[in-house]
Subunit: 175 residues, 2 copies
């Protein structure tokens, strides 16, 4: 991996794809720091009845990675099987609170690693032209794939902010 | 402003600078959506004794914008006067809780707009070569200016996640 504080090209990717992945890498690096050493009960803990557990947020990152890969690279919708597995993590809220619990950190780390590995494999097969292609997205407004994958990491950073807030309330040191 | 869901070049900026600013623009757009219509007491509200008010987080975004502009474009440290004004917002925590309160939303919006305007003005005078220049940064490790300004918007997104969490607990609709 290239230096963590440099946004730049990465071997195996076209220039713009490499820059995007530099940012995805940094986001993931900070996520992993924020959850290091958490126990099952810390991963399941809820701040209050409206909150998402840290475990559910971790699974959310893997779920978002998965669905964006399926939609942008494979250009298909998720199968019934995929939907059954990932939907609670995509939806979070009540559904996430009911279904996602009882797992050790390693469970989530494995999901994160597996989904990200498949995403990176897909990115190695496309180029900058692919990244800048536009299509109708939220509210039918145009978005390019750069934006879609920017959203994947900016959503992760958004929830990482919540993880950090929740981590501090577990009596853990700030990261 | 170009379409909000497109990461791409922007008139008046070199190509990579434009892409970076597309991302900064989107981050700011979502921040502004997350605080729309909040009252003075909602901006001052604390989730608990460890939390930062939404008002303090908004001022933090302006403070980070200011200090990164001073350090990366003007290549100087903040003056005593600047430090006195911005330090509580940079530090947050106890200092932020004590000092930053009682302001209407317009106060924070004006700070955000003024600092961002000066930042964009500075970005219009540099180019991609400037953006990729590296220098020692955190822990003496190399960082390029792209990373430094990526950090400015990723820090905003991190705290926007916390603002959204706090907003929901004010009984406001999710955004």
């Amino acid at each position: 991996m290239s230096p963590i504080y440099v946004i730049g090209g990465l071997p195996g990717y076209t220039p713009e794809v490499g820059r995007l992945i530099s940012m995805m890498n940094y986001a993931r690096y900070t996520t992993l720091s924020a959850v290091q050493g958490l126990s099952v009960s810390e991963l399941d803990e809820l701040l209050d009845e409206k909150s998402n557990s840290i475990g559910a947020l971790l699974m959310h990152f893997a779920a978002v990675d998965h669905i964006y890969r399926v939609e942008t690279f494979e250009e298909r919708e998720m199968t019934e099987e995929e939907t059954a597995f990932w939907q609670p993590a995509l939806n979070l809220g009540d559904e996430g609170r009911t279904v996602i619990k009882g797992h050790p950190l390693e469970y989530y780390l494995k999901l994160l690693e597996e989904t990200r590995e498949r995403t990176l494999e897909a990115f190695r097969k496309v180029d900058d032209e692919w990244l800048f292609r536009e299509e109708p997205f939220w509210d039918g407004q145009p978005a390019n794939r750069y934006f879609m994958w920017f959203h994947v990491f900016e959503d992760e950073i958004n929830h990482r902010g919540q993880i950090r807030l929740q981590r501090k309330r577990l009596g853990r040191a700030a990261v």
